[in-house]
């Protein structure tokens, strides 16, 4: 039984109950009133008719005649009793069997026309109608109408009515059942249909042909299902494409990660390892299963945990540390935070969700670096020792020749003088070339130390003017030799700068001696000016200048202005490269302006607000590693 029908049934029952009750009350009341009235008028008529026709009989005291007359009236429906009272108040005839009830004795003396209700014990309720005969002079006729008949008629009428209502009720229910079913059946069908749609069964059909609201609903649902099916199909296709693309990308990424030579470690925000690659397992000789879910501190120590923590806090920075690998190898770990741009957080940098740590085996790099350092110091040692002997003994020879031999030569002449002069020149060449070789060895050592980041920088406050004085003093012999003028134009009241005194003097000496080397006559000018937030130093000469093609390469290693095949090389070719590294270390830049034949100007800047020089080795060693 459908719920709809249950509700309808309830409504019908209530409705019928109300109808039945009201109609029963109203018809019952009407019927009772009508029947009572009818009985009264009927009784009155009977009483009158008996009264009028019994005058004579009574006067003649023919009781038996009266008895015979009243007896026939009891045949009339509703008439229960009739009795006649004479003027003396005696009941002369009556229809009571077997005897006159007591209640009748009480009312028999009423001589007026009255209608009253009486109750006779053992007989029931009656309407007593008294009709006087000849204004009461002869007697009174009483007719008793039976109220019980009224009630039984009433009951019968009510039963009929209720039976009729019941029939109507049953018919209504039957009709309602059919009708409600007619409505709920398609509704149920539609419900089933929509359930199927909800479970994405778009192939389901529904067969409702009616033209009413339900039909309309069915049509709407059908077209909605079609639309949905189309949309779903489109999304499914798009999703399939996306999944395929995602799978491809994932395969690529997995392949890239798995085949990386570097070890990869991914941790969540708490430092718990959630991804590693095979290279990492090999590096540490720990299986992947042993690493996943563990804290990186437990497996790889405090140093790594520290950079992981730092990377989580600073999204834009990478942090590095050295870490011991299996089999005595050394790795370099670089940790970077994984940060999600999120609208939910107010944090400018988004939300940190973990860290990526790349670990590179730098054992061989370190070995190579160490080998390079060892090689250079060994070579420089091995070169310096014989060079010391060569230069030392040459000096001794020169000294002994000058002091002990040449003064003893008595013989004079063109040949002897020329020979002595040539010997002097030859010895000078040996000495100057030996010194050049020494300078070259020193420069090579400097370059390798700068590149390896092994220079110990002593940062202190220094005055530019003082640096120039030092450099001027160190190069004074060169200026005298070439008879060149040294000019300087230094702005007064320059602020102190912070930097490495010895290294900056090295830059000045290098640039000044270069200027002298390439200048035959004229002067060398050293100019120092204050810029916005830097000091600009420029050293100009009136020498040969540098051609356009050479300008680009002068700061590169082993490059010198001029053609080494035709021109005599006059330096190591490392000086400007060293200058560039020193200036750049201080946060400045170095450049050259020149035209062939018109002199050159080498300039460099030193920032007044120096950058943080506290951690120079990290920066240099990282850049060094990146180069490799």
């Amino acid at each position: 039984m459908s719920k709809l029908f249950k509700k309808t049934l309830l409504i019908i029952i209530i409705l019928f109950a109300i109808i039945a009750l009201t109609t029963a009350i109203s018809t019952g009341w009407n019927l009772y009133r009508d029947l009572t009235e009818e009985y009264k008028s009927k009784g009155t008529a009977i009483a009158k008719s008996i009264a009028s026709s019994s005058v004579e009989t009574l006067l003649n005291r023919e009781a038996s005649t009266v008895q015979a007359m009243i007896d026939q009236f009891t045949e009339i429906m509703g008439v229960s009793y009739v009795f006649v009272v004479d003027v003396q108040g005696e009941i002369i005839s009556h229809t009571f069997v077997p005897m006159i009830p007591e209640e009748i004795q009480v009312i028999k003396n009423d001589k007026t026309r009255t209608i009253k209700d009486i109750h006779i014990k053992g007989m029931g309720d009656f309407i007593d109608i008294a009709s006087p005969i000849v204004e009461g002079t002869v007697g009174v006729v009483h007719v008793g109408m039976d109220k019980g008949t009224i009630f039984s008629q009433l009951r019968a009428g009510m039963i009929r009515q209720l039976s009729l209502l019941s029939v109507i009720f049953i018919i209504s229910v039957a009709f309602a059942y059919i009708f409600v079913n007619k409505i709920s059946q398609p509704l149920n069908t539609l419900t089933d249909y929509s359930k199927k749609l909800a479970s994405h069964d778009f192939a389901a059909t529904v067969d409702i042909q009616s033209q009413d609201e339900i039909g309309l609903l069915a049509d709407t649902m059908k077209s909605m299902a079609m639309d949905l099916s189309e949309v779903f199909e489109r999304y499914e296709l798009a999703m399939k494409d996306a999944i395929v693309e995602l799978q491809d990308t994932l395969s690529y990424i997995t392949a890239v990660i798995d085949n990386m030579a570097d070890g990869l470690l991914v941790t969540d925000i708490d430092g718990i390892i959630n991804h590693v690659n095979p290279a990492l397992s090999i590096m540490f000789n720990i299986t992947e299963a042993e690493m996943i879910g563990k804290h990186c501190k437990d497996l790889f120590g405090n140093e790594l945990a520290e950079i992981v923590e730092k990377s989580r806090r600073s999204p834009d920075e990478a942090f590095t540390t050295e870490i011991k690998l299996a089999e005595g190898k050394v790795g370099q770990a670089v940790a970077t935070g994984i940060h999600k741009d999120s609208l939910e957080t107010d944090d400018f940098h988004g939300k940190g969700i973990g860290s990526v740590i790349l670990i590179r085996d730098i054992t061989s790099e370190k070995e190579i670096g160490q080998m390079k350092t060892d090689f250079i110091s060994t070579v420089s040692h091995e070169l310096r020792t014989p060079l010391t002997s060569v230069l030392g003994f040459t000096e001794i020879i020169e000294r002994r020749l000058e002091e002990n031999i040449f003064p003893l030569i008595q013989q004079t002449g063109q040949i002897v003088d020329t020979t002595i002069e040539r010997i002097r020149n030859n010895i000078k060449i040996i000495l100057s070339e030996g010194e050049r070789l020494t300078a070259l060895i020193n420069d090579v050592l400097d370059v390798s130390k700068l590149e390896a980041g092994k220079v110990e920088w002593k940062i202190e406050n220094i005055s530019i003017a003082e640096l120039i004085e030092h450099a001027r003093f160190a190069t004074s012999a060169l200026f005298e030799q070439k008879k060149l003028e040294f000019k300087k134009d230094v702005e007064p009241n320059l602020p102190v700068i912070s930097g490495d005194r010895d290294r900056l003097i090295q830059v000045f000496i290098n640039l000044l001696s270069n200027a002298v080397k390439f200048t035959e006559k004229g002067y060398v000018l050293c100019r120092v000016k204050r810029g916005d937030d830097e000091i600009v130093v420029s050293i100009s000469d009136t020498g040969s200048g540098i051609s356009e093609s050479n300008k680009k390469t002068v700061f590169e290693k082993f490059i010198q202005a001029g053609d080494t095949l035709t021109d005599k090389p006059r330096g190591t070719g490392l000086g400007l490269s060293i200058c560039k590294q020193i200036v750049e270390y201080h946060g400045g830049t170095i450049w050259v302006e020149s035209q062939a034949g018109q002199g050159s100007t080498f300039s460099f800047t030193l920032p007044l607000i120096s950058r943080d020089l506290s951690k120079p080795f990290d920066i240099l060693s990282i850049s060094h590693l990146e180069k490799n």
Binding site: R384, T388, R399, N442, L445
Partner: protein
């Protein structure tokens, strides 16, 4: 009589220093030489020279150790020690200072470097 000890594993450097010193024209100089740290230590303890030219790279015990032994273990503070090395690195300069050396000459050196230093140590009368 001034005693000077030259310690270097390279015979040519020893010869060079000997020749330079022979040209100094200082009277009564006696030159000792050693090619390794052990011999050097022996001579130092036996002869107590005024000046020791001490190479860093020596077979056996190196120059720093010899220097350390003289100054800190034997407490022979009168001996003037001049370290000779091929390395011009700050680290070696610092090591030389720490081990108690009095002076530091990097190779290659000039005759003048050596003569000036010896005259300075031995005094103006030499």
């Amino acid at each position: 009589m001034h005693k000077i000890l030259i310690v270097d594993d390279d015979p040519l450097i020893r010869l060079l220093l000997e020749e330079i010193l022979s040209d100094v024209r200082v009277r009564n100089i006696r030159i000792f030489s050693a090619d390794n740290g052990h011999t050097a230590a022996e001579i130092i303890q036996r002869e107590a020279p005024e000046i020791v030219f001490l190479d860093v790279m020596l077979p056996g015990i190196n120059g720093f150790e010899v220097c350390n032994m003289i100054k800190n273990t034997l407490k022979m503070n009168n001996i003037y020690i001049i370290m000779l090395t091929a390395k011009g690195q700050e680290l070696d300069k610092q090591k030389a200072k720490d081990s108690g050396a009095d002076f530091y000459i990097t190779k290659p050196f000039t005759i003048q470097d050596v003569i000036r230093k010896v005259k300075e140590v031995l005094g103006p009368d030499s």
